[in-house]
Symmetry: none
Subunit: 219 residues, 4 copies
C-alpha cells in the first residue's frame, strides 16, 4: 500500500523550498512513479508519496493532474534536447565527430537511465500524449531530424560515400530509438555499452572509413 511507501526524496524536504525546487521535486517523483507503475496506474497519491510530500501539494503546484503530466513530458523533452545540444557544442566540428557525439549523448547515463527510458516509453504509448507532445515539442524533433540529416549529408559528402543522407539519417535516428525500446522490452536486456556498440556498428556499415563498432575511428 501507498502508506508503506518510503519517500524517496524526503531528505531534501526542507519545510520551505522554493517554488521551483518543489515543482522539480514533483516532476522527478512523477518520472519515477510512471517508470515504476506505468502511466495508467500513476496516481497523484503515488507521486506525492514518492516525493515525500503531502497529497494536496501536488494540486497546489500544478493545479491538475494533466498539467503535471504535461510538464513532466516537457521537462523530459527539454532535458533530452539540452543533452544533445550540449554534446554537439562540445564535440569537434567534423561531421563524423558530431555524429559520434550525438550517439554517445543518447546513451549517456543520465538520459539513458532505466527510469528515463521507462518514462519515455510510457509517454510514447499513451495516445493522448502524442498530440500533446507534438504540439509542445514537435519542433524539437524536427530540429533534431534536420540536424542529424545535415550531419549525415556533410559526412556523405566529406567521406565520398554514396548513401542517401536523408535515409541514413533516419536509420541512425530510428536505430537509437529502437535500441531504447529494445532495452525496455527484452526479456534479457543487454548493457548500455552493447547498445551503443550496436548503433556504432550500424554507423560503420554506412560510413566504414569513419566508424567501427567501437565508435569513431581515430585518425
Amino acid at each position: 500500500m501507498a502508506a508503506v511507501e518510503k519517500p524517496v526524496n524526503q531528505a531534501s524536504t526542507p519545510r520551505k523550498a522554493s517554488r521551483d525546487q518543489r515543482r522539480q521535486q514533483l516532476i522527478d517523483a512523477t518520472i519515477d512513479t510512471i517508470a515504476k507503475r506505468g502511466y495508467a496506474r500513476t496516481t497523484l497519491t503515488d507521486v506525492a508519496n514518492t516525493a515525500g510530500l503531502s497529497h494536496g501539494l501536488v494540486n497546489f503546484h500544478f493545479e491538475t493532474k494533466e498539467k503535471l503530466l504535461t510538464e513532466t513530458l516537457l521537462f523530459l523533452a527539454a532535458e533530452y534536447r539540452d543533452n544533445w545540444v550540449k554534446a554537439l557544442a562540445e564535440a569537434p566540428s567534423p561531421a563524423a565527430a558530431q555524429l559520434d557525439a550525438l550517439i554517445r549523448a543518447d546513451f549517456n547515463d543520465v538520459i539513458c537511465s532505466p527510469e528515463r527510458l521507462s518514462a519515455w516509453c510510457s509517454f510514447w504509448g499513451e495516445a493522448q500524449c502524442r498530440p500533446i507532445y507534438q504540439q509542445e515539442c514537435g519542433s524539437n524533433d524536427i530540429e533534431y531530424a534536420d540536424m542529424i540529416e545535415s550531419i549525415c549529408a556533410r559526412l556523405v559528402d566529406e567521406g565520398g560515400y554514396k548513401a542517401e543522407a536523408k535515409r541514413v539519417a533516419r536509420i541512425m535516428r530510428v536505430i537509437m530509438e529502437g535500441v531504447w525500446l529494445d532495452l525496455m522490452t527484452m526479456t534479457t536486456p543487454y548493457s548500455r555499452e552493447e547498445a551503443m556498440r550496436t548503433v556504432h556498428a550500424c554507423a560503420a556499415a554506412f560510413f566504414p572509413r569513419h566508424f567501427n563498432e567501437d565508435g569513431l575511428i581515430a585518425r
Copy 2:
C-alpha cells in the same frame, strides 16, 4: 462521451454468436479502443460500445478487465508470430530471401495497420504489461531473435560478408521496431513503403550484394 459512441460492428451482432466469435469481436474492439484512446483511458464501456455490445457481456466472456487486456495482448503476439512464420514458410530457402520475407511480413497491411501499431505502442508503454508479456510471450521473441540471427549467420556465410551476425541481426530487428515507433510518434509520418525502404536500405548496407533499398536484388 461514451454514450454517444457509434457501435462500429453493430451490423454483425446477432443475438447469439458462438463463444469464440464474441471473444474475437471483443478483442478487436479492445485493439481499436486502445489505439484510439490509449491504454490508460480505455474503459470496458468504450470497448463494449465499440463492439456494439453491452458492457456486461465483456465480463461475461473475460471475467475481468485485466484478463481482457491480457488476452488482447496474447492475440496480438500470436497474430504477429503467425504472420512471420507463414511468411518464412512461403519464402524461398536462400537466406537473403528469408530475410526479405521477414521484412516484408513486418510491413504487411494487416500487421502494420495504424490500429495495430498504436495498440502495440500502448502495450509497450504500459509497465505492468511488460512482465505479463514477457511471461506469456517472451519465448516468441527469443524464437524470433534466434531465427533472424541464424538467417543473418547463413547470409554472412553464403555471401562472404565480414559482419558479426548477432549484431546485424539485432540491428535488423531493432530497426523494424524503431520504424514502427517512428511511424507512431512523428509529427509528419511517412508511408509504409518508405518505412520498408528504410529497412531495406539498412539491409543493403550490410549485405550490398543481396539487397538494395527496393529489397532483394533479383539474380
Copy 3:
C-alpha cells in the same frame, strides 16, 4: 469460482423431472447454499450450480429470487411444523410425555442438521425476512407457543407444581432456540446429545418429578 463447483445433486437430474421435484431440488440447493455462503452471498448461480441445473431454470420455476427465498423459508417452516405435529401425534398423551416428545423432535437429526440450523440462522438474521416470515408463518409460531403453553399448564396442574405455565413455556421454547443458536455460534460446539441434555436439565429444574437431564423419568 462457481465454475469449479461440483453439483451436489447432479446424479438425481433426469432430463425430465416433474415440476415439484425440480422445485424441491432447487429449494434443497437453496438451503445448502445459504448454509454454506450465508444469505447475503447467495446468488442464483450458486443455487443452480449446487443443484446441478442451469442458471435459467431457477427463474423459470420461481420467477424471482425473492420468491425462491420465500418459498424456501416456507418449506423450512412447514417442515418444522410437520415435525413437531407428528412427534406429538405419536407420543403418549400425558403432558410430560408430550413435552418430552417436543424436545426430542427439535433435536431430531433431520431438523437439527448443520444445514438447517445454519439456514434458519440466516433467515432470522435477515431483517427483511422477518416480516415475510411473520406474515406467512407467524401463525405457526403462535400455534406452537400456545401448544407448548397448554402442555406446560397441564403438567403444572397434573404435577402439582407452582410454576407459572406461561413463563415456563416461554423458557422451554427459548432455551431450545437458544441452544440451536449456540450450536451455530460457539467456537467449540457441543454434540446434539449434550444440547438435548441441556434442555432436559432445564425441564428437570421446573418439573423435577417428571424430568431429569436424560429426559422423561420412566415410571
Copy 4:
C-alpha cells in the same frame, strides 16, 4: 431510494472531525443501517447517508466494506464485553449478586436496544461473519462462559444446591441469548422487563433460595 434518505446525524457533521470520531460515527451508522435493512441489503451508500456523510469517506476511513463490517462487529463485541465487565466490577461479591448483575447487564437499555439486538442477529445470521467473529472475539465468549460457570459453581457451593454448575451456566447463558432472539423474531414481542423476568424465573428454578422472578431475593 437512498438518495431520499435523510441524514440522521447531520447536525454533528463539522467539516473536520477527528479520525476516531468519524470512525465511530460511521460504525454507529452501520449498526443502524444493518438493523434497519439487514446485512444483505446494507450498502455503503446507506451507511453514508445515515451518517450524513459522503460515501467516499467510508472507504477513506475503512478502505473496504468488509473492514467496516468487521470493525463494526468488533465494536459491538467490545461494547458487550465492557458492559458485563463493568457490571461485575460494580456488583457485590456474593455469587448470586454477581449472577444477577450479569443478567441485568444483558438487558440494560444500551446493550439491549432494538438496533443492537437487530444488528447482533444479522451478524449471527451471516455465515461469513461467524469465522471472522470467532477469530477476533472467540476469546471473549470463552472468557464469558468460563466466568459465568465459575459464578454458578460458587453459587451451587455456597447455596448447597445439587445442580451441575457447567450445565446451569450454559442454560443461563443460552436463555439470555434465546430471549434476545425471541425479542427479534416474535410476532408480538414482549417488554425488556418481561424478558428479564423470564431469565430470573429460570435462575429461580435452579437457585430458589437466591432468586425469584423479580431477581435477587433480598436478605
